[in-house]
């Protein structure tokens, strides 16, 4: 009996074993198949776009930031013109939305599908240089073209370690829009709107007490705004060598305390502690904010969404500190991907996009400022039309002429995050402004020493 059971058991076990072995084999086969297919997909991803089109043209892709479809009528004819003049080149236009632009770009680099010509904010340039994702342009750029750019902007924004890494495209200074309806409601006129920060608290108090609305809405956290507060007061983030923090000075503290007090005194919205740039824009669009500081190009949004607010708007230069007549200008540039198959052609196309006539036309359409001297001297900017749009250009052009580009410090993003976190701590009352600056100084020095 025992033997019989044992034989049966053996048969069952053997059968089980065979099935298990078969199952294991099939599992291995499927795993191999997965790996094979996976490798194929990864390999396809690595090749990215084909360097040549089917008819043998050189394929150049360029990337812009949130310009499609609004500017199709500008870029598409321009691409057509370029392809006509350069029949051996095929241009492909890619556009990423503003939100998470750089994350998407970095993902494209990760997937090896990054475009050849890349639109970059100037402050991000060091990251791309450090990671070796863009090419130095000194040997690629035409010397005459290089000389055509506003040289101070080129030097501030595009040159690192004596090498040129990107060419400037458009500048976006901020201007101040004023909702005159709120002024009327508060019994004020444009003459009462402060041109200097020193007068801002009293203005905000008046607007708030008479209308229940806010006069001003600064952004505190997004983009390490503390560096702008300090810069406007003439306080640098680091010493000239970029080796030590240089902002923890009496002037730096005074500027920092001013903005923290404005919040703690509740003269500005309490949600400002986490607000991003779209929140003040929404508040302005809905008639809840008297002064909106933003790029003139964003006036398109409230012109379409709230025409009555646009009609009631006036424009003026950003408020300054008394005796500090300097403006910070955001600059957008073109770099060339280090993975491009066609560096020469990519450079030529970047030069074409940023030449005087093309920049001038682009500026007219976008309400941004060109970075080429011939375009800046055009009558369009020097003798603008008498309308809100014309005045926007006049104010923005004036600011650009006085403008400076913020030059990122070493490990810029980390430094900016430190500034953002101490600003948050001071706004929430977890630290005094002095403690916050002391803490920021210590942490920034630690970052700079790496």
């Amino acid at each position: 009996m025992a033997g019989k059971v044992s034989t049966t058991q053996c048969f069952v076990d053997c059968n089980k074993f065979q099935r298990l072995a078969g199952l294991a084999m099939r599992t291995v086969q499927i795993a191999l198949l997965l790996v094979a297919v996976g490798t194929g997909v990864v390999a396809c991803g690595q090749s990215g776009r084909e360097p040549l089109t089917s008819d043998g043209k050189k394929h150049v892709t360029f990337l812009t930031m949130q310009l499609r479809p609004a500017f199709d009528d500008y870029f598409l004819p321009l691409i057509e013109q370029y392809e006509r003049e350069n029949p051996d080149v095929d241009i492909d236009w890619v556009d990423y939305p503003w939100q998470n632009y750089e994350t998407k770009l970095m993902t494209a680099f990760l997937a090896r599908t990054a475009p050849d010509v890349i639109n970059l904010p100037s402050e991000s340039l060091p990251t791309y240089i450090k990671t070796g994702t863009i090419l130095p342009l000194d040997d690629l750029i035409d010397s005459e073209v290089r000389a055509s750019y506003v040289q101070s902007i080129l030097a501030d924004a595009g040159i690192y370690d004596n090498q040129l890494w990107a060419v400037p495209w458009y500048a976006a200074p901020e201007v101040a829009f004023v909702n005159t309806s709120i002024l009327v409601e508060a019994g004020l006129t444009m003459g009462d709107v402060p041109h200097h920060y020193e007068d801002l608290p009293a203005f905000c108090e008046t607007i708030l007490s008479r209308t229940g609305k806010y006069g001003f809405y600064p952004i505190y956290i997004e983009g390490g705004k503390l560096r702008v507060f300090l810069w406007e007061r003439g306080v640098p983030i680091t010493n000239e060598d970029g080796t030590h923090a240089a902002f923890n000075t009496p002037e730096g503290l005074e500027a920092f305390e001013f903005w923290i007090d404005l919040y703690r005194d509740e003269l500005i919205p309490r949600d400002a502690v986490t607000a991003t740039h779209r929140i003040p824009l929404d508040q302005y669009k809905t008639g809840q904010l008297a002064i909106l500081t933003t790029g003139p190009q964003l006036s398109r949004q409230f012109k379409s969404d709230s025409p009555e607010i646009y009609d009631a708007s006036e424009v003026m230069p950003l408020p300054r500190w008394k005796g500090k007549d300097q403006y910070l200008v955001s600059l957008f540039m073109f770099g060339v991907s280090a993975r491009t198959h066609h560096p020469e052609e990519s450079m030529r196309f970047a030069e074409f996009l940023t030449n005087g006539p093309n920049q001038l036309e682009f500026s007219k359409r976008t309400i941004t400022l060109p970075s080429v001297t011939t375009a800046l001297d055009d009558p369009f900017f020097t003798t603008p039309e008498d309308s809100l749009r014309g005045r926007m250009f006049a104010v923005a052009a004036e600011e650009t002429r006085k403008g400076q580009v913020f030059r990122p410090v070493r490990n810029n993003a980390e430094v900016m995050e430190v500034l953002a976190s101490v600003t948050e701590a001071a706004l929430l009352g977890n630290m005094t402004p002095k403690e916050a600056l002391d803490d920021a100084e210590r942490r920034v020095n630690e970052i700079l020493s790496r």
């Binding site: 499927i30 997965l34 997909v41 998470n100 994350t103 970095m106 993003a413 995050e417």
Partner: protein, 298 residues
């Protein structure tokens, strides 16, 4: 012999049906997961010539980082949404389970948030919770429940809790549907028998219905716990990870992808991902064992 061949054919057929799913999951889930495990051991940047093996250094850096511990604390705290979700979803399911006129409309209403994009939901709730102009504060002030607007999303003590309410609100409908299905599967004879035996409705619910739907309760608890530990969109949209609301997944995002918040570091982000995996796995095993113990079944 014939039955063995038939069994083999059945197995092959099963694999053939499973193959497309396995391939897709393998490519888009398992391979990336394996890749993340590998990258957590590297100082890695795409295409960089400086990529190198660093062993467990990324893990050591993560564990030394106070921001990680803050995020972990918030993620664990976020698990408090689980009992609330389970309780409210079950209550809603009991309310809308009876087959009476218009009940489908109610069910659909409760399900609408589930199919609405979180980005839209979060933005809408941000407007509701706005300190100065938000609907909620305006009502509270009007009714005299608050003297002035409460900083729902900008106060360190409140912001995380406020975001948690949105998570609960959005997830309720999904879990409610699961409970409705479970409740419908409870044999009516059992509840009737308990009533005949003298049990009141509460006793019947506690001693008959709950044990019968316990596997679903367990499933809802596990799924909602994993979701809670992986929360991201609400935090990203409503507070940007500020005012003490950063969670583990948000921290992974900022470390690995958000260039505005510091140098991006894929290795360290992957190390955090692996640690999150360990946390979720550990919690799930613990929860399953504990819940199995309650009624001896899942």
């Amino acid at each position: 012999m014939k039955s063995s061949a038939a069994s083999s054919r059945q197995t092959m057929t099963a694999w053939a049906f499973l193959a497309p799913t396995l391939i897709v999951m393998g490519l888009f889930q398992f391979l990336p997961i394996l890749g993340a495990f590998g990258m957590s051991l590297l100082d890695y940047f795409p295409d960089s010539p400086n990529n190198r093996f660093v062993g467990l250094e990324n893990f050591a850096r993560v564990l030394r980082d106070p921001a990680f511990w803050e995020a972990l604390k918030n993620s664990v705290l976020y698990l408090l949404v689980v009992p609330v979700v389970v309780g409210l979803a079950l209550a809603l399911a009991l309310l809308v389970e009876p087959a009476i006129p218009f009940m489908n409309t109610f069910r659909a209403c409760y399900y609408v948030p589930v199919v609405t994009m979180m980005v839209v939901v979060a933005y809408a709730w941000t407007l509701v919770f706005n300190t100065d102009n938000g609907l909620l504060n305006q009502l509270l002030v009007k009714w005299g429940a608050a003297e002035r607007g409460i900083p729902w999303l900008t106060s360190e003590g409140l912001a995380l809790w406020t975001v948690m309410t949105v998570t609960v609100w959005k997830g309720l409908g999904y879990y409610m549907v699961m409970f409705i299905v479970a409740l419908k599967a409870v044999p009516k004879e059992l509840t009737e028998a308990s009533r005949i035996d003298g049990a009141n409705p509460v006793q019947g619910f506690a001693n008959v219905t709950i044990p019968m739907i316990w596997p679903t309760v367990t499933l809802v608890a596990i799924i909602s716990s994993i979701s809670a530990l992986q929360v991201f969109e609400e935090i990203y949209m409503m507070t940007n990870g500020r005012v003490g609301t950063s969670t583990l997944v948000y921290e992974i995002y900022t470390t690995g992808f958000d260039m505005s918040r510091g140098a991006i570091d894929f290795g360290q982000a992957c190390a955090m991902g692996v640690l999150l995996f360990v946390v979720i796995l550990g919690f799930t095993v613990f929860a399953v064992k504990r819940m199995q113990g309650a009624y001896g079944t899942t």
